[in-house]
Structure formats: structure tokens, C-alpha cells
Symmetry: C2
Subunit: 200 residues, 2 copies
Amino acid sequence: MADKLSHKERTRARILDEAARAIREYGSEGIGVATLMKRAGLTHGGFYAHFENRDDLVAHALDRMRLDSREMLARYLGERDAAEGLSALIDYYLSDQTRKLVDQGCPLPALTQEARRLPAAARDQVEGGIRNFRGQLEAAFTRLGLENPSTMAASVLSEMVGAMTLARALNDESEASDLLRSSRLELKRRLGIDELPAEH
Amino acid sequence: MADKLSHKERTRARILDEAARAIREYGSEGIGVATLMKRAGLTHGGFYAHFENRDDLVAHALDRMRLDSREMLARYLGERDAAEGLSALIDYYLSDQTRKLVDQGCPLPALTQEARRLPAAARDQVEGGIRNFRGQLEAAFTRLGLENPSTMAASVLSEMVGAMTLARALNDESEASDLLRSSRLELKRRLGIDELPAEH
DNA sequence: TGTACATCAGTGAACGCGCGTTCACTGATGTAC
DNA sequence: TGTACATCAGTGAACGCGCGTTCACTGATGTAC
């Protein structure tokens, strides 16, 4: 009974799921309540049985994204060998596939520039996401034996988020692809993990 | 006669100036025609004597920002010694002052995440800005004697834009400031220009 | 120097539209007896 | 097993509001004579 979601809970999860995707793709103000509910297979009136208002939805959708990202990072940097995990994370995070799947994955390359303008609760989620990402990198760098793991974590996180942000802003496919490849190469080089083969 | 702007041209420049500031601060959709015109000391009806429509304004405002940024980069990377110019650029671009002046300066940390959703003309301006920035860095790196100037330019540009984007997303002043300091340090270290003193 | 007139940047009321939100209602589901 | 009823997730018409845009009008400026 506790692990089985009720009908209403499943509906709510479906709305949040659609909201998370739409927010990544169109920004926090890019989708309206009516369109969102339609995508979830409902009509707009029912929205307020699930959320206080639109801001409340955005905050919950961002909370969900943050948790997803935390899991993703733990998958790469948790148990595995630090060098191998970091190399795989870089290859995944800065892949052309990730570049194209704008409605999925890490919210930082999608939402950090509008974070300042988000309602407080939503903004806190973005801030928590940044803090967690930097922390996870720092821990991995420590295990890797770098001498300045905290500084390096800030620098590497900035480059990762910046590279994906810029690549997605470029219309030209090959230019975007080249930018990501350059960043992957240079990130691994400066972390001293460039001798490992790229994944698949 | 040619170098003296007419009354109408000066008014148009004033509107564009306010638009550029507002777009950097609130995003391309963050300010309405009425508010913008009020800031320029006018009423909203007059707007259409200067621009075709709102999209036209956004494209022209971005064009203006792009030219301003090009000048800024030329100031740092043009005539000067490459190492000195790069060090000064990093100190300026990633300073706490720049972080706070969100309505001024380089548009990339403000607009690249919504670039995909911008009208074509506006999007082209952002793309041109990225291309120019990367090109200017590459030229400076070549003069500096780096062996992979193009790869390095993509990497450094990504870190610079990413670091400012993330710093501005952080509510906590000291955390934001620390992130910028970390990035400045690491950027200079990996460019081999960390022996130079930071500017003021 | 003074008067008449054309020009045109800017005004402000009005418009249609899409948005977030409200609310009376529907109809399927599950429980009471 | 069958009937009556309460519950409540979801519906869809309606609202007020802010937005981009239009347009008839104003009034200052500069030129013609």
C-alpha cells in the first residue's frame, strides 16, 4: 500500500514529468498550464487539484530534476574508479546525444541563466544542484589525487555547463560537435585521465 | 552632417540601449514594449516608428551587444602582449563586479541558454558572438605559443561563460565569488600565465 | 523679420489574444447496508 | 448479490489581466516666401 502509488499520485507524477521536460526545452516560462495539462492527457482545470499554482509546479519540477541529476552523478562518480568514472561522465555529459536531447538530463545547461529570475523555491533548487555537482566532482578529484580538488571542481563544472550551453546555442551541427569534442579532450587532459579510451 | 545623429536616430539609440540592458537582465522576453519605452522616456505607441515589431528590436539590440563585445575583446586581445591581455581579460570577465553588473557587458552568460528559442535573426547574433569570441581567443593563444589553440579556445570560452553563468545563479555571495576566483586561478594556470600579478 | 504651411516624432485610447486562475458541475469508483 | 450514496479526480466555460500592435491625432520644428 505504501509503495503502490494511487491514481492521483500517478497523475501528478505524469504532470511533473511533462513539466520537467518542457521546462528544460522551453525554459520555466515557456509552457502554459493548458498546454502542459494537454500533454499529460488532461484538461487545464484539473491542474489546481495537484498544485497550488504555476510557481509551485515549477519548484516541484525542479526538485525532481535535481534528484534525477544527483542520481546520475552518483552513478558515474559513486562506486567506480575515479578516473574511469570521470572519463565516462565527461563523455556522457558532453556527448552529441546529450546536446540533442534538450528535454532530458541535467537542468544546469538549461536553467542557470534564468535562475536569478526564478521564484525563490525554484531558484534554491538550481543552487542546490550546482552545490551538489561541485561537491561530487570535488570528492572524485580528491580520490583521483589532485592537489586542489575544490578549485578544480569549480573550474571543471563551469567548463562542462558552459560547453553544453554554448554547443546548444550553435545552429551549425559540426561547429557544436567540435566545441564539445574540444572540451572533452581538454577536460580529460587537464585531469590527467586522457590516456583512457573514450567510452563506445 | 553624416557624423551628427538626427533627433530620431538618437531616440532609436536610446531605445536600443535600454533594450540591451533589459534583455541582459531579464532575458529577451522579460521586458514589454510599454515598460521599455517608458524607460527610454517615451510612450509605447511610438515604438513602431523605430522598429518593425518586437522581434526586430530584439535582433537589433543583440546586434548592438555583439558589436560592443567585439570591441571589448579587441581592447584586451588586440594590440597588447598576449599573456598580459589574456590575464587582464580573465580578471575583468570573471570579476565580482562583472558578476553584479548583470545589465551590462558580454551577452553570452545571459542569452546562450535561450538562444535556441530566439527568432532566427537574434539567434544568428548570438552564434556570431560565440564564433568571434572563440576566434579572438584562438588568435591570442597562437600568439602565446600554445600548441592546440583552437581546442583550447573552445575549452576556455566554455569555462568563462560557464563560470559567470553559474556564479550569477548562486544566491550566496561568497560561494559565487569563490567560484569565480577558482576559475580565474585555474584558467591562468592552464594557460601558463599564472606568474603574472592579477590586475588591481 | 514675420506669417503660413508641411513634416513627422511622439501620444494615448483601443483592439484582440493568450495567459493563469476560479468554480459549478460530471461521472466513475468504492463503501455501507 | 444488489441498491443507495458519498467521495473526489477531472471537465470546461468564464474571469481579469497584461501583452503586442494599430491608428487617429497632437504639437513642435523647419522651410518657403
